[in-house]
Symmetry: C2
């Protein structure tokens, strides 16, 4: 199409400059607060026009020029998971407060999509990346090597190092173990997905180690389940658990979604939760307080993640950080 319609209502520097009878450079400088480069009269006139016409600098022009894009990309494995939604929402708010716009990309936990979004966002001059539960992928490795500003959330950088925001997963698992023991559980179990991410592995290890520490001889049953998401995984793992040896009296579900899967399995198989089998989750989705009174869970302060993630990103860009931020967690008893 050759009829490039002028976007209506979008005032450009040139428009202001023409009307004020000055050059584009002058307007640009004044718009950017460099007031010492023009006479008071000019400054006043240009500022008035800027206000009247509602001029806002065009971010695309800026980006192209090589300056800032005010764009930050968040890559998350799936928006359906309430935990992801909570992280996304809080990060979006924090970024907006810092003057950034967040682009949210759903990678569906697929390395190829993660790569595609990494490329797409880089070519849009994203000033930073927030990778929630990242998976290993070629483009990510290249980005890490190039030292691009990336904050990893929930799951650590698969290539080591880098900024990280999350919790102490081993401790969370240990706290869950303490809780079950304090409830008098004698035949505990743990369910988990067939492929273990570092996050889940740490939680499970922390759980088991604490059990062994406090009850040296205690047997801990384990079951894994396959599935596209943690709901299905939890369901499958629970079924295989009871098929192998009946219901345990307590079970660690390393994510709330897995606990939901367990709950469904119990309902279908006549297991009574939490009376016969007490689950303990990790996440503590906000919805739990409303509709899952049977689920005690380690609360991860996802709503507080946003601020920390943004602080990390800013520090990263300023070259003043390459550390880890571990937020506190708290077991919610229900």
């Amino acid at each position: 199409m050759s009829d490039r319609r002028r976007e209506p209502g979008q005032t450009s520097l040139a428009d202001i400059a023409a009307e004020a009878g000055v050059s584009v450079s002058t307007v640009s400088r004044i718009a950017n607060g460099d007031l010492g480069r023009a006479s008071a009269a000019t400054v006043e006139k240009v500022q008035r026009l800027i206000a009247e016409r509602g001029y806002r600098p065009n971010p695309v022009g800026r980006s192209l020029r090589g300056g800032e894009s005010r764009l930050v990309a968040m890559l998350a494995p799936n928006l359906d998971n309430p935990a992801m939604a909570a992280i996304a929402a809080s990060t979006e708010a924090a970024l907006r407060a810092a003057g950034y716009v967040m682009v949210l990309c759903d990678t569906h936990d697929r390395p190829d999509l993660q790569d595609e979004y990494l490329r797409a966002m880089r070519s849009r001059f994203a000033e930073g990346f927030i990778l929630v539960s990242a998976v290993a992928s070629a483009e990510l490795e290249a980005s890490v090597k190039r030292g691009e500003p990336i904050v990893f959330v929930n799951r650590r950088n698969p290539y080591g190092g880098g900024a990280f925001v999350g919790i102490d997963n081993r401790r969370a698992g240990a706290d869950a173990a303490d809780y079950l023991l304090d409830c008098g559980v004698r035949a505990p179990a743990v369910i988990h997905p067939a492929e273990l991410s570092s996050t889940i592995r740490e939680r499970v290890e922390g759980f088991i180690d604490r059990l062994r520490e406090r009850r040296p001889g205690m047997a801990v049953r384990r079951a894994e389940g396959a599935g596209a998401n943690h709901l299905d995984c939890g369901y499958a793992a629970a079924l295989s658990l009871i098929a192998a040896g009946g219901w345990p009296d307590g079970v660690l579900c390393p994510s709330d979604l897995m606990a939901y899967g367990l709950f469904r399995a119990a309902r279908e198989r006549g297991g009574r939760i939490p009376d016969d089998c007490r689950p303990v989750g990790i996440d503590d989705n906000d919805l739990n307080a409303w509709i899952a009174p049977w689920l005690s869970s380690v609360k991860i302060p996802y709503r507080a993640f946003g601020e920390r993630v943004v602080a990390c990103l800013l520090a990263l860009r300023a070259g003043t950080l390459d550390g880890e931020v571990l937020l506190g967690h708290e077991l919610i008893r229900r």
Copy 2:
């Protein structure tokens, strides 16, 4: 900063052109598939270089030039609501399949934020807008007037007209009424937020009209509740309902979140759900199947929304549509 670092790994048309010994125009044309404008040898050479260097057109340059940005903005009132997450996820997938990148903006249901994002996205040359549960706002009115491509989802254009994707809310409310009557409910009620959006109003009206139609003399109690979200609204409304006249034996919750609020109120006040008080929701969040076996709900096919929304948007941009798309719903009995 004056040291504008050349983005690494980003090949430009100029790079290819220099290496091939041809002009930028020639490379651009070949990259865009206009193969008739160069000799076979040149085409071959340039194509080889494009492949070797992994050249990808820079979307920012393209946007600025006035062409396409491949950017679509979705403005949603909050990411926490599972229904929004479902819509966002399916739309993102459909847009990606169509070659677009979706920017997800959380408006927190605030007109000022909606305006801010509308402006920000327009100045980034967004090619279309998807407004989920839009609120009235000055910038929206202006956008509608200018005829920008906007698809409204869930809630209709507050200024009338425009493309819309949603369900027949009156019928959904009527179906809920049928369900309660079929369950033998004799003292029904409805709870809703203090301020009624068009969506909620239609559902409530459809519900009440159907009750009156089938049981002319039947009294229908109503209670409203205030709160920042539907969970709180539902909770508050339920409390005020029972304070006014005890538990109804059936109650329409015009969104699942309100039903969750009711559930909590019942738990705290000793109401037995669904035995004493049978709720019927609208939405049927995916999680219901797992952890809310007490909730029958009208399933809205949010996962199917994405495709329709994108089809609408494309048609809108092609100038071939200005209609409504109503998807079917189905009451899920639990």
